[in-house]
Symmetry: C2
DNA sequence: GCCCGCTATTAACCTATGTTAATGCTCTCT
DNA sequence: AGAGAGCATTAACATAGGTTAATAGCGGGC
């Protein structure tokens, strides 16, 4: 078994559970992916790029963030093992990515071109279905987050972060948590000090 | 031509542009939809319901909103002519709708059961594709809104509302705009008064 | 072991938005 | 025309969160 075949084992399992591809569909799909490593603080996608990369995270951790004019960085989300990443919405609308995806830890990926994935989704119903399922997951997540911002104050959003990403708080700097919640590190520190 | 056939003309046009269904696929699809009218302030879906309804808006205007414990209502979005509506994310996760969909004006819809649409999407590739396209649009919207809340203050979000829903500000009460932005009517009034 | 750089905390002050309440406007119903 | 019901505005005050700056802790490299 080649190195590349080995690294796709988990990917195979996951997409098999999702859409039950037949042998040939699965091969075509996995052949799109090439392994790639990122060092900590290296970027998978930079804001402004016309990126067509889509990847499966084998190990490591990444953050998605927007940069403001004043240089402040706002974390949109995080992705760890067994998640798919990419600037999918930007790809769909043909525009450059609005956010950067950066590794917070040394990360190993399987990376593919979205153009290839789209081709496959035109040829195989299972990959069309795969695209839909991934998009649905993304959508449900974003809708939840919209509700958070509409309904909850910073303290509540902090607790929701802890629930949504169990164990992550111990893995990243607190200013990254603050940035996800949409407040400053100073504010988060105050919230953490508050009596429960 | 029956009344029902007549009312699906625009729906037919729109889905034909989206996924180019063949004759039989289109008939099966349109047969799922039945006309329905809502008076102003009548609800299409109530928060807490296990709703399986999905609809195409022929005319009128609706708002989607979350209700807080204290009774305050937060507008998630609006939908007017030629848009699809429903509690799609709740349907996907099998949970009750978290928000209410209420008509702000007398509204005419074509309404279908999501179970039926899902059946069709399993039978016809074009309706699978339709599901994906609708979900992608929803996703892109929600991601934009997430970015708004992370990056922009209330005044900026007010201008973004005006851009996203041209002409809507004149059609609804200001407290509905404020509720969409996530602030109080008093605050919006202050923002509107500010010198440009 | 020591230094340096980065992170978290804390304090003092500032600003945007929330809260409450009073006022006045506009529309409709009679 | 008058009365009443929302709705928008305004003002006074309260609060959450932002800003700046000082300090303390911690961790890695030399």
């Amino acid at each position: 078994m080649s190195m590349q075949e080995y690294s796709t084992i988990v990917l195979r399992q996951i997409v098999t559970q999702m859409v039950a591809p037949d042998e040939s569909a699965l091969e075509s799909f996995c052949n799109c992916f090439k392994p790639r490593k990122l060092a900590a603080s290296e970027c998978f996608i930079e804001a402004g790029e016309q990126s067509t990369q889509f990847a499966f995270v084998n190990s490591g951790l990444l953050r998605f963030f927007y940069r403001q004019e004043n240089g402040r960085e706002l974390n949109k989300s995080f992705a760890a093992e067994n998640h798919f990443i990419g600037a999918y919405s930007a790809y769909l609308s043909g525009s450059p990515a609005r956010f950067t995806i950066e590794a917070l830890e040394p990360t190993t990926l399987l990376s593919a071109s979205l153009d290839r994935i789209v081709e496959l989704s035109d040829q195989y119903p299972c990959w069309e279905r795969f695209r839909r399922l991934v998009t649905e997951q993304l959508y449900v997540r974003k809708e939840e987050r919209e509700a958070e911002f509409l309904l909850d104050d910073a303290e509540h959003r902090y607790h929701l972060f802890q629930q949504r990403y169990p164990g992550l708080e111990e893995r990243i700097a607190q200013y990254h948590v603050a940035s996800y919640i949409g407040i400053t590190p100073v504010s988060l520190s105050r919230i953490r000090k508050r009596p429960k």
